[in-house]
Assembly symmetry: C2
Homo-oligomer: 554 residues x 2
């Protein structure tokens, strides 16, 4: 799943002179040695009758990026030396977007929300260097959008001129995996709609296609669900820290227009203390102390899973939430269930005793109720790994499992026959390494020390320890931001450019050389900044301008 040999040669050259610095790296990339100007009257033609408005909006945004990025090349002198080559360069006057024969015209949004197995993000991009027009062709508007994203990464700026080097370009490109995600927890600390929208833009720039929204948790319930509005009214941090249905609609729409599906998670039966504010009858061990006896972090509180009333309430809540999100997937969570909480909960014990169920049987029944409600709406359930590996819950075989505790657990999930999304804490947790955050713990480290560097994330192998037959079970993966120690204040800086690492692994395929990738990662990071996302430096600028010179071995 790496580019062809020709393309690999190009990448090695690109390390010394990052003239083509695409992220993620296309499947097949051929480049030349000419410089090309973007004509002042450059235009993007959409050669599609009745083009959907989100495609024409994407064209408008692309033109704005071409004009406003003003990214100077990351070389000593920042591209000032390119100017001499520019005087002889041809100009590119147009880019044409066209669907392949037989393709159906649907919006980017609609294409981004179909089931993973039906999603078509492939495209071809040709940029001639002889002055003739560039072309993106694809089977879907979503593929055209991915091509536009690539096209927007070709261009640099110097002294008023927008230009590309190492032209012409020929790209044929398609993702290695259908799921490339980014997870944000908006319950430990709250993020505004604009924070999320800015993050969706950033995701789209590296072709991430799934926003896994861990929207609620034990600490707060910031989601206003029709019919269940008391949960946010009483469980959100404040009235202004709530996502209204119109906020959700605008996030889903913003995401869809950028080729991103929104996979919402209502974590159950654990991580639900916030529900107790409105419905204490459904929550066992709410705020029980010491919290560490009842939960992995404060506050304690879990749905009374053995109670039919609670199961029905939860199924109703999940169904009502699912109706807010067009995705074919819905996550019911299922991580970190605390057994002691249920052992000590009188109502739960009473039901278990009177019905002769074990806790595991009750969890299976609860899950069948909640998943049944979702499947009735056409949703594919998504769960954290414990539901398969620890609790032996009866699940539909199409359930998608997120592997998080350790990357080593992927093999067991595959053995159980489930499709998986790699979300391993040992590679992809963006929050690790900031030390312990619980109080009265002066020397405390976080459980998932150390910090997961971009190099570590980039070294992840999605197929490790899996048999060839099991490879098809890997849907993709994602980096994740749990927000005990994060807020809008460090959202950009903790996520970017690190989260681009998994975006490349799951688009281009694993096995890339991190050192060779670094100049391209600098490039996309600097471009993020030009577009208003605060991606941090990975090295002193001195190193960013001199690929390879700051290598340990240089």
């Amino acid at each position: 799943m790496r580019p062809s040999v020709l393309a690999v040669v190009t990448i090695v050259l690109a390390r010394a002179t990052p003239g083509i610095a695409l992220w993620p790296q296309p499947t097949s990339l051929q480049t030349g040695s000419s410089t090309l100007l973007l004509a002042p009257n450059f235009n993007i033609k959409v050669s599609i009758p009745h083009a959907p408005s989100d495609l024409t909006d994407a064209v408008t945004r692309t033109k704005q990026y071409l004009q406003n990025d003003k990214l100077e090349r990351l070389v000593v002198g920042r591209g000032a030396a390119d100017v001499s080559a520019l005087t002889k360069a041809k100009s590119l006057s147009s880019l044409t977007l066209q669907l392949n024969p037989g393709a159906t015209v649907r919006s980017i949004t609609a294409e981004a929300q179909v089931a993973l197995e039906d999603r078509d993000e492939a495209y071809a991009l040709t940029v001639p260097s002889d002055g003739s027009g560039a072309v993106i062709s694809a089977n879907s508007t979503l593929g055209l959008f991915r091509g536009l994203t690539t096209f927007g990464q070709l261009w640099y700026y110097s002294g008023g001129i927008v230009y590309a080097i190492n032209q012409p370009t020929q790209i044929k490109d398609a993702p290695a995996y259908p799921y490339r995600g980014f997870m944000l927890d908006t319950a430990r600390n709250f993020f505004s709609v604009s924070d999320i929208q800015r993050t969706l833009d950033a995701m789209s720039w590296v072709k991430i296609n799934t926003f896994h929204w861990h929207v609620v948790d034990s600490q707060s319930f910031p989601l206003e669900v029709p019919g269940y509005t008391d949960l946010a009214q009483k469980g959100a941090y404040s009235a202004s820290s709530v996502y209204s249905p119109s906020d959700v609609a605008s996030i889903v729409s913003y995401a869809g227009a950028r080729g991103i599906d929104v996979l919402v998670e209502i974590d159950t039966p654990g991580h639900t203390s916030a529900i107790a504010a409105a419905h204490p009858e459904h929550i066992a061990c709410a705020d029980a102390t010491p919290w560490s006896d009842f939960a992995n972090e404060p506050p304690a509180g879990q749905l009374r899973l053995a109670s039919p009333a609670t199961a029905n309430y939860t199924a109703g809540l999940l169904a009502a939430t699912a109706k807010m999100f067009p995705s074919t997937m819905f996550s019911t969570g299922g991580d970190e269930i605390n057994v002691n909480c249920y052992t000590q909960d009188g109502p739960t014990q009473q039901i278990l005793n009177s019905t002769g169920q074990t806790l595991g049987q009750a969890l299976s029944k609860f899950t069948q109720t909640t998943h049944g409600a979702l499947e009735a709406l056409g949703k594919t359930p998504v769960v954290w790994e414990e539901m398969v590996l620890d609790y032996n819950v009866t699940l539909s075989p199409k359930t998608v499992v997120m592997v998080w505790i350790s990357s080593l657990d992927a093999a067991a999930v595959a053995t159980a026959g489930f499709r998986m999304v790699h979300s391993p804490s040992d590679y992809f947790y963006l929050d690790c390494g900031a030390g312990g955050w619980v109080g009265d713990y002066p020397a405390g480290n976080s459980w998932c020390e150390p910090f997961k560097t971009w190099q570590k994330a980039y070294s992840f192998d999605p197929l490790a320890n899996l048999t060839a037959d099991q490879h098809k079970l890997v849907l993709g993966g994602q980096q994740l931001l749990w927000t005990e120690q994060s807020g809008p204040q460090n959202l950009d800086s903790i996520a970017w450019p690190r989260a681009a690492a998994s975006a490349e692994i799951f688009w281009s395929g694993a096995g890339g050389d991190g050192d060779a990738a670094l100049p391209r990662l600098h490039d996309i990071g600097y471009r993020f900044r030009q577009r208003g996302v605060d991606a941090i430096p990975l090295q002193p600028e001195w190193c960013a301008l001199r690929p390879g010179v700051c290598d340990l071995t240089a």
Copy 2:
């Protein structure tokens, strides 16, 4: 150096109900149980003839904070429950600033720039709860400014009302140590004047009084020094990444008005590769490869210290730089000198051989030249610890030594008889824990792993391993941000609120209970955000609103 017993009792109460959440904690604090409103016509009277303009400016800023902070209390409900108490509360109509009898009227700036031993930051603050006026008195305008800073932290907001709880307040306050700093490296990556000014504001809010500006280094030389302008012209990252003399003047002035002295550092003789761009004749092993044979990080390059011409050039550069900064202190650096660089440098070896000097003797002579030039200007030299502990350089006894390699090195510096500023990497380096940044180092950690949490910083003991006689050698300390992996993008989030930890240690004295401090640290962090500095969350907001409830033991 901790508050009196009465005040300690108050702190413990404040942990459950952080009504008085001052940072740093005053030396002596007495509080009551009344609520006090800020009158709509509240005014600050400066009872000083010919009050300096930086004092009246500080009064204006304080009034703006009172009006604009709009900080809701960090309790469940965010202070909405306080409203009932507000109906019966008295109003505070005025705050009077007055100098103690016999005090000389000088500007805050002038007071902030006197020698450390002469600096007077003490103040007393009385806030009655009976409707009579509040008073700050001090021996200096600098003390009045510190009192204003404290006063500004008393106030909360709810539904249009500004109020304080736990009134009246009586404070007598003075710093435990005269040096309380923050170091920023502007050479690995560049920071704008406004980034620095925002940081100076943040520093002043926690009474940090020294901005240690590590302005240049091997990667870039962003300082325009009169008479030496070619260094920045050729050694800065770009023409726009330069601090002009007027930029420097505005930073020094902005700092001074906020009670902050600017201690500039021109690191010598190592960390000077950037000088080679304009003056290759003065630099040994410039850009030599592999860099790891010649320097601790790329690029290699050190001043040819044995060359009289280079020593004179350097002395001239330092003197010209020193004239840009009114501080009585000036740092000549002196860390991480690479011996191999000089061993392999022909010109250096030729001079050493022809003059019969050892490298150590040449370093002493070089330092005498550079320090001599600074002392002629009335400056106190500041150096990194190696100059005393490793190189046995002859130094003026008044030289200030920064201990950085390990906190354990403080004892040796004290034994050598030098005054010191604690800057230990094992407690105070803000950049540690983000993994290795050199290229081709996929599994690399940083040398100073792990991340230095605020709890770790707060546990620092400035007097550890020192004899009682040596205590007077401790001038204070600082947290430091080296910027290999930082830029304007994460300046706020990597520094705040963590860097407030040392601000409290060196103002209030060490030995405070970090767990008891946490609610106050949340409070100042939330206040920072209200004032536009992106301090990050230390915990989920659920915990920030419930002091102690998220303790490991709760």
